[in-house]
Every structure is written in C-alpha cells, then in structure tokens.
Amino acid sequence: MTAKKRILLIDDDQDFLFATKLILEKGGYEVFLAENGKAGVEMWKSVAPDLAIIDMMMETWGEGFSVLSKIRATDTGKDTPLFMLSAVDLQGPYQSFEPPPEFPKVNAVLQKPVKAEMLLGYIARELGQKAP
C-alpha cells in the first residue's frame, strides 16, 4: 500500500473547498485546503503536494494566475500538475482575459461545478494512476 497522494486545493469559498475535499477524499487522496492565494503558496511550500487545484477568480481577478506563477517558480512546482478552476461564464466581463503567451503551463482548466468522476478522472490521468 503506497502512501496517499496529496492534493492542495486553493479557493476562497469555504463551501466549495469542503465539497470538493469530500470528493477528493472519497477518491482516496489526502487533501490540503487554502482559503486564499497567499496561504496557498505557503502551503504549497510546506506540504509539497503531488497536484494543486487553483481557483482562477479569488479576491481579485487573476489572483489564481498569480498563485499559479508563484507555484511554478518554486523548485517543486516546475513539473507538478496544476489545475485551474473557473466559474466565469463565457459572456462575463473577463471573457477577453487571456494569459500571456509565455504563461506557465496549466495541465487542465475545469469548469465549476466539476463532476466528481470527471475531476477524479483528470487527476488520475495526471498522476499516472488508474481511475478509481
């Protein structure tokens, strides 16, 4: 029995964190939660998870992107799979926002709410496991 893979979840909505944590734990992962970008980056450094899921739109628009850049800039963050979460509707005010071309790699962008099996499927694929 190998140790559980660790997932860091960064989102400013406590309920979203809790609901998603339940899904991830059901999927057999150890889950760490951060309620804002700053706490997320710190936790990234202390926990060194196998994967992180970051909400795109926290206190300010683009907060998620800045968190992503900071994580990618760390030693452990270079190759770790990172997912972005987005609840921005297609016609929203941020529709035209596009990350610059040299932007750090995002392994997947998931639309909120995210289906349990879909979320677990994406994670399993990135971590090279069989889907639960």
Binding site: F16, L22, A87, D89, L90, G92, P113, A116
Partner: protein, 378 residues
C-alpha cells in the same frame, strides 16, 4: 463651465452689435469673446469651447447657418443662439433643426439678450446633468450585471458541488428513490443557473454589451454540430433526431456560439413537448436572399391562442405537459439573438401534430472586390 467663468462667444460682423452684447453680458458677469466672421469664430470656439455662442445669421463669407452646423456637430456642449435681423419662421425652424437652442431677433434690448443667455446656460446645465445621470445609470446597470453574474451564480455552483460530493460519498447506499430526489435537486438548480445565464445574455443584448464574433459561416455545419450534441438527449427520451440538409448553404454572417445555443434551445424545447417514439427533424434551405432553418417536431403543438406569446419572457404555453420546467427565457433568448443577427424567428404549429420553428437569416452579400459587405444588425 469655463475656468474663467461662464463664457459667451459672439460671432457677428457688425462691431456695434458685438460691443453692445459685450457690455450687456459683462455686466452680468459673463466672459465675452468676439469674432467678426465665421472662420475666426469657429477657430476660437474649437480652441476654447464657449458655454454659449451667439451667431449672426447673415454675414459675408460663411453664413450663420453653416457655422451652426459645424459648431453643433463639433461642440455638442456649446449652446447655440441665432441672432437674426429678419427673423422668419423658416430660417428659425431650419436653425433649430440644425441644433440651435434659441433665436434672438434684431433689434433686441440688453434685457432680452440677458434673458435668452441665462436660459441658454440653464439649458446647458440640464443637458450636462442629464448626460451625467444617464452615464451613471448605465454604469450601475453594467456593474449590476457583473455582480449578478458572480454573486448569484457562485452559491448555485457550490450547491451543485455539494450534490456531487453527496453522490460520490453515498454511492450505492442511496436507494433509487433517494438518488432520484438528489437528481431532481441537481437538475432544478441547473435550471436556475440556465435562467440566470439567459437573463444575463438578454440584459447584455439589451444594453449592447453582448460579446459576439461575426464570421462567415455555413449554417449546415452549425445544424450538424447541434444535432450531434443533442442526439444523446433525444435518444434518452426515445425520440428520433433526423436531418434533411443540403450539402452546403450560402454563407451568412453570424456568431457560431450563439447559434449553437439557439439550436440547442429549440431542439431541447422540441424534446420536452414530443412524446416517446416521436421525431424531431432539422431542415434547412435557401433562396436568393435568405437561408432558412427549421426545427420540426411531432409533439403536442401549441394552441393558436398562445402562439403570439411564446417568445415573451416566462410565458409557458403548456406548463403542465413539460417534462421538466425550463428557464422560461429560452425562446426570448433565441429571439434576441436572431434580432442581433438581423434575422427572424417564428413558428408554425398545429395541435396534436407538432410545431415547426423557423430561423431566417439574410444571405451575406459580397461586393465585387470580394470582401464581405458591412453587416448591420437591425
């Protein structure tokens, strides 16, 4: 208001009139500028726009009417008053049509001049105030839409996430009845999300901030893709989805994403009202001017007395026969999108036989040199 105080520009070729006006107006605290002809007056006005301009109608060189035309176009905040020695109704009407606020027949007394000028200043402040309020109202409406889009949707997103969590945790432990309840909750919440989305889109279309990308496209491709996307839903309800399409259609200028949503709406509606074993057919054809698509079903049809209202928000022609209530805004959304495209939406229906919704688009005309003619939605 000008920094030097309220400024009046007098454009008149007669020095005595300019002097008289200056004296009368300076006494009342106005800053007075003078120009002896139209060219100079326009130059001065452009350099430092006055609050009010008095313009003589009859001058050598550029006429007062020409000056009025130019100033009304270039300086919308400057209130124009025409001075005329031979006031006729015709010239007064023409000047007012061109953007003059008032006119002053010669000869006039200093008191008359001051009264007309004062009224012009009042008019100017009201105009500016009205514009400020309008801008404020628009700004509030826009930020409200932004607010709704985030604040109203995020609780729904969270609820659906909880339902996902509940399903994955309970798994097999939920019996069929409980699982059904969870499923119904989920679908009603999704319906509410769709309603908000439609409402937002309709609001954005209304205020002109709906983002859409016009491109030349073949409607056949859109219909085929819609059919692929909607086939599973039809299949689940035991309804056949067929297409009767030509190989190609003349190109139209349209927004791909919105049209896919329009078809998804119409097909989704047809599914709701069509019984099992029924059939939905997607058709398209063109003539010299129009491309017309049709979504036909073999469903319940719409009673004739209800037909005129089905594109109205929240109008339900057959509330009780719906398998599952929709957003109430789907057809309104489709209608707005078609209006945005300068097209038309309509329906033919017969009770117990079915309905056929049509979408009519103007064929994109090309100029001789090749590029598409500019497209103006109605």
């Amino acid at each position: 208001m000008n920094p030097q105080g309220p400024a009046v520009l007098i454009i008149d070729d007669e020095a005595s009139i300019r002097d008289g006006c200056r004296q009368a107006l300076e006494k009342s605290g106005y800053t007075v500028l003078e120009a002896a002809d139209g060219a100079e007056g326009i130059r001065m006005a452009r350099l430092s726009p006055p609050d009010v301009a008095l313009i003589d109608l009859k001058m050598p060189g550029m006429s007062g009417m020409e000056i009025i035309e130019i100033l009304a176009r270039d300086l919308p905040d400057t209130v124009l008053i025409m001075i005329t020695g031979y006031a006729t109704i015709v010239s007064a009407v023409e000047a007012i049509q061109k953007g003059t606020y008032d006119y002053l027949p010669k000869p006039f007394s200093p008191d008359q001049l001051r009264a007309v000028t004062r009224r012009a200043f009042e008019h100017r402040s009201l105009k500016i105030e009205a514009r400020r309020l309008r801008a404020e109202k628009e700004r509030m409406e826009k930020s409200f839409i932004t607010f709704v889009s985030h604040e109203m949707r995020s609780p729904l997103v969270v609820i659906r996430q909880y339902i996902e969590a509940l399903k994955s945790m309970a798994g097999e432990r939920l019996d069929q009845e409980m699982a059904g309840i969870v499923e119904r909750c989920s679908s009603r919440i999704q319906g509410l999300e769709t309603m908000i989305e439609h409402w937002l889109d309709i609001s954005r279309i209304g205020e002109g901030t709906f983002v859409w990308k016009k491109e030349s496209l073949d409607l056949v491709q859109i219909i085929r893709r819609s059919a692929e996307e909607m086939a599973p839903i039809c299949g689940r309800q035991g309804i056949r989805l067929e297409t009767e399409l030509p190989e190609h259609l003349p190109e139209i200028l349209a927004d791909r994403e919105s049209l896919l949503r329009v078809f998804a709406n119409l097909i989704g509606n047809a599914v709701k009202y069509t019984p099992e074993q029924g059939k939905i057919t997607l058709k398209a054809e063109s003539d010299a001017y129009y491309v017309t698509a049709r979504v036909c079903d073999t469903g319940a049809g719409i009673p004739p007395d209800k037909l005129p209202f089905i594109f109205e928000p929240f109008y339900r022609a057959r509330g009780k026969q719906e398998r599952q209530p929709g957003s109430g805004l789907g057809l309104t959304f489709c209608k707005r999108i078609m209006e945005l495209h300068g097209g038309e939406i309509g329906v033919a229906s017969k009770e117990a036989e079915g309905s056929a919704f049509f979408l009519k688009f103007i064929i994109q005309t090309r100029t001789a040199s090749g590029p598409a003619a500019p497209f103006r939605p109605l």
